[in-house]
Symmetry: C2
Subunit: 455 residues, 2 copies
């Protein structure tokens, strides 16, 4: 078999790796992956079968394997940790930061989780983990790591550097040293840069910035992300209700969170009910898409029954049927536009936001303006281009105008209500609402027609 010396993210290397796994060539794995990046190895392992990935993880140094395990995609990660005996998983978790350890453990059922924790070697780490498991996964407490560097207000620079040395192995990335008082209350921070430039007997008290932004353990992850973005922070300290420093969140976790959030929103908007990717299996893709398609279908069938009520009217004026797609499509477009604007303003709440009444008034004005333009346009087309009666043109344009107004209100109110109920407001731009808007539009259209054309 051909010998490939260096790891690379390629189909060729993937093939060579698979062959070497079958041949159980541990040395190939160790040598070729020596200088590889954890994220790259993880991307490669995501392409392997579970048993193959497990073989690779066992061949590598536990410290490196732990890093790789953290970077795996949720699916492959879950399969691998389910397959590992508790002792083995505990060895890897001993090499992880507490926040990553908790992300892994949260995927296991309570019994398995406890079995793994009981096998942990580092006493301090298991205490950290038990504390972190108490927090909601999506809260600041669930996102933070316990590994931080704290300095007491009364320490000198030398003492602080000694503390950094002591913790150097536990805290991979140091951005700031957090300054606390004797009761561990957060007072401020010292940038690493300042520490380097200060003379060694300077007191921390003379170096630190007290104007520090922190978040409470119970704050939602999304809000933490917005604060870190707004204030350009690469790490943020987390405090408990007594303002005691309990951990920190780093920006890399926030980047992952933002991406997951964006994917979730888009999937809510497009009616894909599960977290799927193009590379998933046909069965899984189909299953994830079907529920919302069926709901849309039920809506369409209700619409059919609905139009059926007006069968006589349709028989009398067949042309009514021509404009059905116009009415439903416009309702859908207006509704989605409105809800998107609201969803975006919900994501960036401002203390200066207008009151609900004022916002609805504005929605009304925009809808009237757009509704008028669209109705006039349609009126002209229907009468002059399609050569219909003015009365018929009036039916279509009045119905259209009403649909623009109604869809604007529905599109504005739905995300606000969903948000109040604790449901992701992005759902308001999804197929459920589009379907509801379709039915609403049809109702208005045929009502106007019945009234004006005396059907």
């Amino acid at each position: 078999m051909e010998r490939i010396e260096l790891f690379e993210l390629s189909k060729e290397y993937l093939e060579a790796l698979k062959e070497n796994i079958i041949g159980e060539h541990v040395d190939f794995i160790q040598e070729s992956m020596q200088d590889a990046n954890k994220a790259d190895v993880a991307a490669l392992l995501d392409e392997l079968e579970m048993m193959e990935a497990l073989f690779v993880l066992r061949a590598l140094d536990p410290d490196f394997s732990a890093d790789i395990l953290n970077e795996l995609e949720e699916d492959s990660q879950y399969k691998v940790i389910k397959a590992m005996p508790p002792e083995e998983l505990a060895t890897l978790i001993d090499h992880m930061d507490s926040d990553d350890a908790v992300d892994i453990l949260n995927q296991l059922v309570v019994n398995d989780r406890e079995a793994v924790i009981s096998h942990l070697e580092a006493k301090e780490k298991s205490l950290y983990i038990i504390e972190l498991l108490r927090y909601d996964e999506d809260s600041a407490g669930g996102l933070m790591a316990k590994e931080i560097i704290k300095a007491n207000l009364n320490w000198t620079v030398v003492q602080t550097i000694d503390e950094i040395r002591r913790q150097a192995e536990n805290v991979e990335k140091i951005f700031s040293i957090y300054v606390v008082d004797n009761k561990e209350k957060l007072l401020g921070r010292v940038a690493l840069k300042k520490l380097i430039l200060a003379s060694s007997d300077t007191k921390v008290a003379d170096l630190y910035e007290d104007n520090i932004i922190s978040v409470p353990t119970y704050m939602e992850g999304e809000e933490v992300a917005e604060i870190m973005r707004k204030y350009d922070l690469e790490a943020i300290p987390v405090v408990n209700v007594k303002n005691k420093l309990v951990g920190r969140i780093t920006v890399d976790d926030i980047l992952d969170l933002i991406r997951e959030q964006a994917d979730e929103d888009i999937q809510a908007m497009t009616g894909i009910s599960d977290d799927v990717e193009e590379s998933d299996s046909v069965y899984r893709l189909s299953r994830a898409r079907l529920p919302w398609l069926l709901i849309g279908m039920v809506g369409g069938l209700l619409g059919a029954g609905f139009i059926g009520f007006f069968e006589e009217g349709l028989n009398a004026v067949t042309a009514l049927a021509f404009f059905i797609p116009l009415i439903t499509a416009t309702g859908g477009n207006v509704g989605i536009q409105s809800s998107t604007l609201v969803v975006q303003s919900l994501a960036n709440r401002s203390v200066f936001a207008d009151s609900l009444t004022k916002r609805l008034l504005k929605v009304l004005l925009v809808a009237i303006l757009n509704g008028l333009v669209l109705s006039l346009f349609v009126m002209a087309t229907v009468v002059f281009l399609y050569d219909k009666e003015v009365k018929f043109g009036l039916v279509v344009s009045i119905a259209l105008f009403s649909v623009v107004l109604l869809a604007s209100f529905m599109g504005t109110l739905t995300p606000i209500v969903l948000d109040k109920l604790g449901i992701n407001p992005a759902m308001a731009s999804g197929p459920f609402i589009t379907t509801a808007n379709d039915l609403l539009g049809l109702g208005v259209y045929f009502m106007v027609a019945t009234l004006l054309l005396n059907l």
Copy 2:
């Protein structure tokens, strides 16, 4: 007038501020904003009229004003910089990092830009700026800052710390020291942590990691963001084609970029043609939404003309009209789901991605599976619940099945084609494609009806 001592992000403070601006009380502004955060002051200034914001910026220290100016929303920022004389803007830009300076200057026309640059005091900064202005705004070169800390491979720790001291004022946040050879080629990096823990005569050559990830100046910002997320980086060095270190990008700029990108995608998907927010004026909101609504309207009118061709068929079988919304809505839902999956996989390109043929085959399989379920469901409902003839049920379900297939293909191919043409593929989930899908669906429906019912 009541005296408010401390800055806060509230409507009350905003009112007090406005009154003090009218009264020209510079001391109120200076005192109350003394310890405020730049991002908070900017959020407040976004609520003011341009002349009011200008008054506040002029009252504050130029260093602080420069920071605030950078944090303003695009609209307010543009108004303020347009109104400033070049000398004044140059003073603020003298206090900015080169990347922020370029973001500001890029908004001015060439003449104004050159006038500002000619008034800059710092020689080095103006050279930086002139270099950065050459790069495309959305490329790594356009995103990077020139302010970095470089250490030569042969330096000692003491020499490196001296360099940090020399640059401390220019480089606000130091994450790593970049290591270069005599020709300024990037060799690696030293984490600040390592520098602190090393003894002062250690050589940089013995400390640095050579396994460093860098990006070329021409790489697109979106790709840089994905690399920083994947590899958990808080800063990334930028190199030119000769691998010479020319700047660095920090994660705070990437967070802003990701958010802008997400907003843009969502607006593309929902047919809002301009970067608007719920708080914008009625006129602006209306204008941003109208173009796509009109396109949808034209689509709807074309659809009407289209159905008109089948008027006789409709007269013969009125029930055909009932299922128009079902057909168009399903086409729309399937199309949006398909395009979203492709857009997401385009955002996370993988070397292990399947070939186009394989992907389309999978799309076909998913479409057949979902199409079958939906068609059977509809067939049963039409025949048993709505009591129509089997032949009529066949028309609706065959049309539906074809629409699911066609919309899946359209939804998959459109974003791929748009991406190849350099257009944002998220547009493929927008109103234009939904409209096209509607027309396609109607065509298939009436064709099937004509053939099967001999209309």
